[in-house]
């Protein structure tokens, strides 16, 4: 099983690189085929494992919504609570699309050392058995399962799985910081409400086309020097040297257009894109994620607009307003902390007055 899975995973991993050199539609079809193969391989491996290793430790199956979770009996009570909470979060995040999880049971296994217990699937969900850990790991696994079921274009753009957030304020805060501090001029213009710049910074355009918009000449030179060890850059050694040593920006652009898209750091971190998707899902209601998946093949901004049910610019404007409103707590003295400091000052003063020296 492991060999099959590994091959499939490698295929998925290579998809990004291949994508840089082949027409996008052909690649997408190929990746979809590979993914289907991965699903079959996993199911087959599961059956083979069961036959090879006999009966694993006794489990019960918890079914909450579309979530099917095999749970060791020892942690059943806390797992029941955690899985219920997880389903609630997944349901509100993916809406009607969450039903897609029903085809894939999650096998919860208690962590014992660094190896899987005999007879368990290698993709089993390891847990320490606490309620919080179970909740987090089930969420994580379910989000990855949802991600695997989405199309590659969406996955590549997102750069990872959309794991539902427990703290809804955390991500916009991080995006705010990213917008302010990113070295990309596009990101900083986006911060200043330039929606065109937001489109560029969020990667709505192909990397090769966006490279001159993402970064200025100095940053492009830095990026080329940072990725100089990559094989495609090695093949363009002359241009890379001219870029880094002689500050020839045209050479920098040429090099960056030839390297795999994933080698060029995006102007904004993945959290910026996640936050935009979440915003679209929030606006679009329970069917939003399903619409997002259904619009496969269209440009990302249009897919997001379809999911949100509003024009792309409206979505971007609302997202931007949301991010700006999430400005992190500025450098300030928390009134509670200030009062506490004064109270401690007073307390120490009183201690000084009560010193045995004065009595």
């Amino acid at each position: 099983m492991s060999r099959v899975a590994l091959t499939a995973l490698l295929a998925v991993a290579c998809a990004g690189e291949i994508a840089a050199q082949a027409p996008a539609s052909a690649l997408r079809a190929r990746i979809d085929r590979l993914e289907r193969a991965l699903g079959w391989a996993e199911a087959a491996a599961h059956r083979i494992d069961s036959l090879e290793h006999g009966q694993p430790e006794p489990t019960d199956t918890l079914i909450v919504g579309a979530l099917h979770v095999l749970v060791p009996r020892g942690i059943l009570p806390q797992a029941r609570v955690a899985v219920t909470q997880s389903w609630s979060v997944l349901d509100s995040a993916f809406g009607t699309a969450a039903v897609r999880l029903s085809g894939r049971p999650f096998d919860l296994v208690m962590m014992r050392g660094s190896t899987l217990p005999p007879g368990r699937r290698s993709d089993a969900v390891l847990t320490t058995g606490t309620e919080a850990d179970i909740r987090q790991r089930v969420l994580w696994s379910a989000a990855h399962a949802m991600s695997v079921q989405s199309d590659s274009a969406l996955r590549v753009w997102m750069g990872g799985a959309l794991v539902p957030e427990h703290d809804p304020a955390r991500e916009p805060r991080a995006v705010y910081l990213a917008l302010v501090t990113a070295p990309s001029p596009a990101a900083r213009r986006c911060f200043q409400r330039d929606l065109g710049a937001c489109r560029i910074a969020l990667g709505f355009t192909p990397v090769a086309d966006a490279i001159t918009d993402w970064y200025d000449a100095e940053r492009r030179r830095v990026i080329v020097s940072e990725i100089s060890f990559l094989e495609p850059v090695q093949r363009m050694r002359g241009a890379a040297r001219a870029c880094v040593e002689q500050r020839q920006d045209a050479d920098c652009v040429a090099v960056l257009r030839r390297v795999p898209a994933t080698a060029v750091p995006a102007p904004l971190p993945a959290s910026a894109r996640y936050s935009l998707i979440r915003h679209a899902l929030k606006l679009g209601g329970r069917d939003a994620y399903a619409r997002l998946l259904a619009a496969a093949g269209r440009p990302i901004d249009q897919r997001l607009a379809a999911a949100a049910g509003v024009p792309a610019d409206t979505l971007l404007r609302r997202w931007h307003a949301d991010i700006i409103a999430a400005r992190p707590q500025p450098v300030t003295v928390d009134p509670r902390g200030a009062w506490m400091a004064l109270a401690w000052g007073l307390a120490f003063g009183l201690v000084a007055l009560r010193s045995s020296r004065w009595r």
């Binding site: 501090t181 070295p183 500025p330 450098v331 300030t332 003295v333 000052g345 003063g349 004065w358």
Partner: protein, 218 residues
């Protein structure tokens, strides 16, 4: 009476107060010295924040040192005379201690005001990229509170008798010894770490020291 207490304290602490004020003024100014208007384009925001953050480490250090020196200097002449003079003055003792405490706190206002002035000037002189803001007043407020708490704590320690100070030091030494012994015995029990957490985290007395000491931030 308070005027004379303040006067005596000023006499023996003026060098420290003056030096503290100069340092407190210089810190914010120096921290943005490299971010003048003409070089603004060369700086990336992240680098700027990192630099400001590095300078930020110095504010609590200066606050703590100033508080320590002023607290020690507040009592050192009285310690030298074994407090006989202070104790034979015809005022309730708490009046006298309060006078000394107030005088020390008032002297510490000079470095605080200097820091505020320095921070205001630095904020006005620096080229601050969009999305970032200067917080001179909040920085000065945090500095003043940190100085006050540390001063009050050290003032209380300095007010104690040698015996009491010995007890305090003894307890600290015992904690360290127990921690070392437990670590040698491979016992996974930690005392110092949690104790320090209690001191430096809410609602601990030195929590004000652990906040963000940024002149410029988002």
């Amino acid at each position: 009476m308070f005027r004379m207490i303040l006067f005596t304290q000023w006499k023996w602490a003026r060098a420290v107060v003056a030096l503290g004020a100069v340092i407190a003024f210089a810190l914010p100014v120096l921290s943005v010295g490299q971010f003048g208007r003409e070089q603004a384009s060369r700086w990336e925001v992240q680098a700027m924040l990192s630099s400001i953050q590095s300078w930020g480490v110095l504010y609590p250090v200066v606050a703590g040192l100033l508080a320590l020196l002023i607290a020690v200097l507040t009592w050192s002449p009285d310690h030298r005379g074994r407090h006989v003079y202070a104790l034979t003055l015809p005022v309730p003792r708490w009046h006298y201690v309060l006078g000394r405490f107030g005088a020390g706190a008032l002297l510490l206002a000079a470095p605080v005001i200097a820091l505020w002035a320095g921070a205001l000037i630095a904020a006005a002189a620096a080229s601050i990229p969009p999305g970032l803001q200067a917080y001179p007043t909040m920085l000065a407020l945090r500095f003043s509170l940190a100085v006050l708490v540390a001063y009050a704590l050290l003032f209380a320690v300095a007010s104690a008798t040698t015996r009491t100070a010995g007890y305090v030091l003894g307890v600290l030494a015992a904690l360290i010894l127990v921690e070392v012994l437990l670590s040698v015995a491979d016992v996974n029990v930690h005392i110092l770490g949690p104790a320090l957490m209690r001191v430096f985290l809410w609602p601990g007395p030195l929590e004000i020291f652990t906040g963000r000491w940024m002149l410029i931030d988002v």
